[in-house]
Symmetry: D2
Subunit: 333 residues, 4 copies
């Protein structure tokens, strides 16, 4: 089994899905230990660094990759199993970028009102308690929040020759900003280009569902992942699996369309898994899914539909890939 370690140099970061030469070729089955920079490209290091002054919006959400997976062809499925996510710094950072976020006008939901105050929050990591510390910027309030590392952005090169900003979530994955993308999850992405060309980035030390202010507790991340290739079976939209759930992620606008996409993808998956008629799959999922919002702040909004495994018969998705990767992952934890 190949174990690949990679820390990009500054000029090696990618800012798009597609349109970038691979940093490396890897074999299916490789274990990758990757370092990724934070979403602000390390521009905000204290509460005195303001996003409007320090953040260059052409260079945010830097991606570690893309990696060329040998043998991956359009129509195939890339399985990315997240073995471990460990914060690579002793602090994380969040900010309310002017005209970015969910409770402000944006470049889409544009208005004529003044921007909210450009503010930066630093969260100190407490390794002993495994927490990040919130400190009010306009008062004395403090509280420790549980560490909950996740990757905001994982994706492959888009179809149709498109190249998309690393700020966008779509069919190819990308900036979904879902807390479900954490250690123990396998992400299944349809391959659109030779080599798949996947990349990861935008580590979050934790994030609320919705990512309301537009940024999580952003931080550099050490990620250990296993990458596998399944011939064919490429799903139209990202599917995810952990020990407890099958999941699908839809990313579009308005948000009801993100939900429709994810819910239909789960209906299709349920039909495959259990041989159900579409109407029965629709009905059964209507009574069982959990549906957390992932983000309401990116170029597309992301909704995740989760179908619990507990009450259902045991079945294998993608040939049992998730279970197999869980087993393999144990030696790296």
């Amino acid at each position: 089994m190949d174990i690949v370690e990679f820390t990009p140099s500054l000029e090696q970061y990618a800012y798009t899905f597609g349109g970038v030469a691979p940093v490396m070729r890897i074999k299916p089955g490789s274990v990758l230990r990757l370092w990724s920079e934070d979403a602000f490209n390390h521009a905000l290091k204290s509460i005195h660094d303001l996003s409007s002054e320090k953040v260059d919006l052409r260079y945010v959400n830097p991606q570690t990759g893309p990696f060329y997976v040998e043998g991956a062809e359009p129509g195939d499925t890339l399985a990315i199993h997240i073995v471990d996510l460990t914060p690579a710094r002793t602090w994380g950072v969040s900010a309310t970028i002017p005209f970015f976020g969910g409770l402000t006008g944006t470049d889409r939901t544009v208005n004529l009102q003044d921007a909210l105050p450009d503010t930066t929050w630093i969260y100190e990591v407490d390794p002993a308690r495994n927490t990040v510390g919130f400190q009010a910027r306009y008062g004395a309030f403090e509280v420790q929040l549980p560490m909950a590392p996740m990757l905001g952005t994982v994706g492959v090169a888009p179809s149709g020759g498109e190249v998309r900003s690393s700020l966008v979530p779509e069919r190819f994955g990308g900036n979904m900003d879902s807390p479900e993308v954490r250690a123990g999850t396998t992400l299944f992405l349809g391959v659109n280009q030779e080599g798949a060309l996947f990349s990861v980035g935008d580590g979050h030390y934790r994030q609320g569902e919705g990512e309301a202010c537009g940024t999580a507790v952003e931080g550099a991340m050490n990620s250990t992942i296993i990458v596998e290739l399944i011939k064919g079976q490429g799903p139209a939209w990202p599917r995810l699996e952990n020990d407890d759930y099958w999941m699908a992620a839809g990313s579009s606008r308005p948000m009801e369309d993100s939900w429709r996409i994810a819910q239909v993808e789960m209906v299709l998956w349920y039909q495959e898994l259990f041989g159900l008629h579409q109407m029965d799959a629709y009905q059964l999922l209507s009574q069982t899914t959990e549906v957390p919002i992932a983000n309401v702040v990116d170029a597309n909004y992301t909704v995740v539909v989760k179908a619990g495994k507990a009450p259902l018969p045991t079945v294998d998705a993608f040939g049992g890939m998730h279970s197999e990767l869980r087993d393999r992952a144990r030696q790296f934890q």
Copy 2:
């Protein structure tokens, strides 16, 4: 303490919030034991009953109430604590009503395609296992699902003299279809008219988040609730509390607006609870909220924003009303 039992006669059901004379006057602090009919008004009793033939859409979501709460005035807060929800029949029912639901065109998201097959599913209750049984209608698949009773519809009379269908969720509560409205939850609703005029209905034996096909496992319900009145403090949108979460529910279209409403309501509530500046409340909640979709199928879509109590200091909302009602509820469980 007043204990009131009430089972409506057929002609006593209400089909709107507002515009209906109260069935009864109650004192604040009353315990109510209420019977409510299912959302189809008992029109679907077997898989051979089709919604297009049997359901009269003028008479769905029948409401038990409204109740006139003595002393309730506009600007006050009605607190409704759900003590217990017990299915009142041995079976529940779901259906895909033509042009109703989330994965079909509707009277709003209207299209020219043919309707999905009008299908009815009966779920038998297994009291021993505390489950409801799904049986495929287009195949042989069966599975038992955990019983998880909730009320789809709880609301007060609207403001401004409006009268709204019991199918609509809005500021006044109504058909929010959120699984959070279950035993152990206290619902806080702003009072708009003298007496508040609240009603309940639309019992669900269980429901997935989103209520994808438009109907849950619908069933007649025995509800035990305690109703209290708080002078003033009426929230703009429904707030909810249980032992683990403070919550707000937003209902509008498109769904991102439902989320914006609920998220802002939580920001306002956090400012009150912890004396936080708005920007700090916005930031802190951005990293902590859980955000399940409640429904994507009603006239308005409902999103719930949940803020966990766990990492935060102990504070009392609405003068500690939830804790007090939890204590009182114990003798009725």
Copy 3:
């Protein structure tokens, strides 16, 4: 032919569709000469009157009516032909009400930003030039704009026992804020309650499509209308006709749903008018409709779909009612 003149006293205005006793019973075929107050209820009379201080939001969009039309039953069609609209004052008024309008956060698309400046503009009417005069409030710019009187709000009582604010456009008409509702237009509304119970109000001396800032050049209006009753044929959504166009108005959220509603209503109408198959009606209208936005600022957004009569064969809608009313109108102009 009955000619009815009516100027409401202050306490006679209605603020809802439905839920209000009729001010008068009229016979089908009656000509009504009606006076309506401006949308602000005459609270803003100079640029020094601010909406946040003077406007009581419970009493805006005052309606003249409702009128009980003898013989009107649910399922019938009310035809309202607008003969003449004449400004009843020598000035109109517009304002940017805080958190109301299209380029600001609202109570639905809610955000945390500060409100836009609460500003009032007075437009003097120049009867000789038939214009209203815009005068900048933050500079010296002035320009005369053509007078273009219209009614922002025309509607009947809703179905299902609902009562809706006069600020809401919906199936029953209401606050559609479309410039198409002007002299020469016949509006066809489905009757939902005995007597139809229609009312009019919210006169605009002119308005841009979209009504971007939330208010038009609002003004008291003298309206001359003819009211007719067509048995049966009640359309699901408002239909309009003038000498050049058949039109349908959809009002919902998000705005694509308003469009879908209006476009489908035109497809249905085209099928009736020309005996076309639905797919042919869909195709033909795809190549011919004009589609102005009416408002993006009310509780629901309104889109109008207009199908030009010019290239099509001459046909009669609703038994030629529009032509007949045009003829009758001539003697009152």
Copy 4:
């Protein structure tokens, strides 16, 4: 003055904005006579050609270009004046592609219903009458519709290194599908990459506003355009000008966001043109704009906001570029 004629060979067509090498370098001020293939890439030639069988969705909306404009740098403004559009075939074609269009579920607003019938309509051009002929496919109805040639798609390479499908309208222009893009209009696009790299395609012999069924009367087109370069002043979103209107086009989802974008862009333009304060520009435009929907069927919906020149003082936009190009155009008409 350079006059450039260009008819692409089959392999020269582009299917994206960005990501494609220029077919030619041109000087600012060049007159281009361009041939463009129809949106279906000439795959539908009779009513027996079905889109589901003949159209390869990877190769639709073929673009003639991109052209590298010498001296064009990011931040500049490309002015494209449309001198003449002449149909290049004697027939046009429209089709209802399964799960594409406005009155059907799509890949975004996805549902579980069956697709609408896949149908193709051929429109014969009558050069004498200057019409295209609609013939019903499910009946005998026929009608001649006025020829009204326009370009569905005009755009430049996107910013941020993105590459976007020629089916997408966005900040860079693209597939806006607006009837305003016709002879006599000047389009102003912000330059994002060296050389601007603009292309044109998707000729329509006519189109209703909204392009309801997803396709116009599609046809190969001979386009004569003049291309000019303005240093700096690059607008954030496409601006258009003809003799009667200043216009802005917004493209996003949901449709109210498209409108917000276009309306704000017009507010900004009005502030520049007349030195108005933002609130005065907002107010004045609220009373004057015409707002046609362009498309509700592409990946983004497009709304155009039009501000009439008639009542306003004479001013020059972009240094009077439109007037100048109108003058130059006369010799080529």
